[in-house]
């Protein structure tokens, strides 16, 4: 139930001959270990999550486990904190992915032009993506955004901003800044790959025909980049929606739950509140929502990267 049903390709007419069947298994054999392993490790837990979500179960009270039906789900939908963190997750994901993409496109356009030391600048720009997320969040929390000693406040001092407490005043925004910093390089790299696969002769023909640069960008470059941008948004969202490290390191979801996203909130429920049943029910709700969104997202990836490929 946790896999996304793809459009079913018409099967070949059934051939009952046993040697055919054996041949099929010979072909399938190399694939099976990976498939079986993935099903066991990634799908089985979700089935169990489904089962746990129907129980009342506190980890600290042995023997407390009993079946309660859909009571946990009723709780989840009545839980205003769940709604807040769900909204935070949406804001965080959409905000981070879109802003990172806009900056990423700009940087990719920059790197597509020639200038002195371009290779080094590219290397500098991809670095944030390689930084261990926990360390990146730590750096932003302390040496960048610290109210007293942080470098950001130092740089803003001429503009009359003194010891401003960024993380305290804008917890969600501060976490997002760190995430945008980490994800912009990824978007930039994908878009840059797109730019460099663009046929240059068409661009030249357009400019000799007197098209203005902005016109060329809007009419030719942007449509060409579309599928790379879509891919970046989908892949970025897959990772950003699961973001845990930055929230954990920078704000612990606080103050209150103002900067908690769903992964952090469910973690809190399960590992600090020990409410297995409730946390599992939240997990199921998140999975169902993800499946709905991902079905569209997957279709997008596949339409982008199957049919149009040869024509492009």
């Amino acid at each position: 139930m946790t896999t996304i049903a793809p459009p079913v390709a018409a099967a070949r007419p059934a051939r009952a001959r046993p040697d055919r069947r054996r041949q099929g298994w010979v072909r399938r054999a190399p694939l099976l270990p990976a498939l079986v392993f993935t099903i066991i490790v990634t799908q089985l837990p979700f089935v169990l999550t489904l089962w746990y979500s129907l129980q009342s179960w506190s980890l600290v009270r042995p023997g407390s486990q009993h079946f309660v039906g859909f009571a946990n789900y009723v709780d989840v939908f009545q839980d205003s904190q769940f709604r807040t963190t769900a909204l935070n997750t949406v804001i965080m994901t959409v905000g981070t992915v879109l802003i990172a993409m806009v900056i990423g496109v700009a940087l990719a356009l920059l790197l597509d032009r020639k200038f002195l030391g371009r290779g080094i600048v590219r290397t500098l720009l991809i670095t944030p993506f390689l930084v261990m997320p926990v360390a990146g969040a730590l750096v932003w929390k302390t040496i960048m955004l610290d109210p007293t000693f942080g470098i950001v406040n130092f740089l803003l001092r001429p503009f009359g901003i003194g010891h401003f407490n960024w993380i305290g005043s804008f917890p969600l925004g501060s976490v997002m800044i760190e995430m945008i910093w980490q994800w912009t390089p990824f978007m930039m790299l994908l878009v840059l790959a797109g730019l460099q696969s663009q046929p240059k002769d068409i661009l030249e023909a357009a400019s000799t025909d007197g098209a203005r640069p902005l016109q060329i960008f809007r009419e030719l470059t942007l449509p060409h980049l579309r599928r790379y941008i879509e891919l970046g948004i989908v892949l970025g969202a897959i990772y950003v929606v699961n973001e845990f490290d930055a929230v954990y390191m920078m704000t612990q979801g606080g103050p209150g739950i103002s900067s908690a996203n769903l992964p952090f909130y469910i973690y809190q429920r399960a590992f600090l509140g020990f409410q297995v049943g409730q946390a599992a029910a939240m997990g199921v709700v998140v999975v169902v929502a993800t499946i709905i969104i991902a079905t569209f997202a997957l279709r997008l990836i596949f339409t982008s990267f199957s049919g149009t490929e040869q024509a492009a």
């Binding site: 946790t2 190399p30 694939l31 600048v121 720009l125 699961n242 998140v286």
Partner: protein, 294 residues
């Protein structure tokens, strides 16, 4: 749709748009662009640069309202980090990273083969399945994983992380390896088949040499993700099997007020991956886009 259609669609799936080699209009190096580029590059790199600089300062130098740009570097902080017992964590991280990466390659390579050169029926469905596992929120799986690990006495056991990291990286590796397999020239395979070479020899002598760089790229990506992973590590390990990110977090709780020492610890934790990523930038893009982009 016939199976032939599917396989051509499949082939197109991962093969990128042909790279056009038409020479671009000769544009000289632009100075304004260069300035903008360097400024932006330094802005993005700045937190990392500042982290490294801070790690060579004394705490007094790190704690100033007006940051020191020039100072006499000291290795005191690094000495403190290495004296604080980071090595078991590094060993755990290295073990989980290397073993899970080897497992991923062992599982993904034959799997990708069966999805590319000798495609099974429903190749597309299988690919869908693999990528869909990446879309599911990890947090929904952590509870049963935690309980299963507890009941199997596998909590705080490095092999638990090895298994989870293998599962985490396998889908990306399958997609990546598949895109490399699809690059093996068809003539080469046909020639080998005409010669009557057994499959084993075709694989080792014809296919593997072509995909070897791809294998290396895949391994690199898997290593990066495993080394940086925090969520599983913090929830499933305690003292025995904890990895470097967990060390870093523990370091903050105890050394919370020492910026310079924290910066040194963070530098030690991040440096291996940063260096690896710098060396293999091109492969990075390809792996991260699940092989869709070269």
């Amino acid at each position: 749709m016939t199976s032939a259609d599917i396989s051509t669609a499949e082939a197109g799936l991962a093969s990128p748009a042909p790279r056009h080699v038409t020479p671009r209009k000769k544009r000289g190096n632009s100075l304004p662009l260069g300035i903008v580029g360097w400024v932006v590059g330094i802005v993005f790199f700045f937190p990392v640069l500042w982290m490294v600089l801070t790690s060579f300062k004394t705490e007094v130098q790190a704690y100033t309202n007006t940051p020191h740009l020039f100072f006499t570097p000291t290795l005191t902080q690094y000495k403190a980090v290495f004296d604080s017992g980071i090595w078991p964590y590094v060993a755990n991280s290295a073990f989980a990273t290397i073993v899970s990466t080897i497992l991923v390659l062992l599982l993904a390579t034959p799997c990708a083969f069966a999805l590319s050169l000798r495609p099974v029926r429903k190749t597309r469905d299988v690919l869908f399945f693999f990528i869909s596992t990446k879309m599911l929120p990890v947090v929904a799986a952590i509870i049963p994983i935690y309980i299963a690990a507890r009941d199997l006495h596998m909590l705080d056991n490095i092999f638990t992380l090895v298994i989870l990291y293998t599962a985490m990286n396998l889908p990306i590796a399958v997609w990546m390896m598949r895109s490399f397999f699809l690059e093996v020239p068809g003539e080469l395979l046909e020639a080998a088949e005409m010669d009557g070479a057994p499959l084993r020899r075709t694989v080792t002598e014809v296919i593997l040499p072509v995909v070897a760089p791809g294998l290396a790229a895949t391994a690199l990506i898997c290593c990066i993700f495993s080394w940086n992973e925090f969520f599983f590590a913090v929830n499933l390990t305690a003292t025995q099997a904890a990895t470097v990110p967990v060390f870093l977090v523990g370091f903050i709780s105890s050394e919370g007020l020492y910026f310079a020492q924290l910066a040194a610890a963070a530098t030690v934790a991040t440096l291996p991956v940063i260096l690896a990523g710098w060396v293999a930038q091109r492969q990075l893009v390809r792996g991260l886009s699940f092989g869709a982009i070269k």
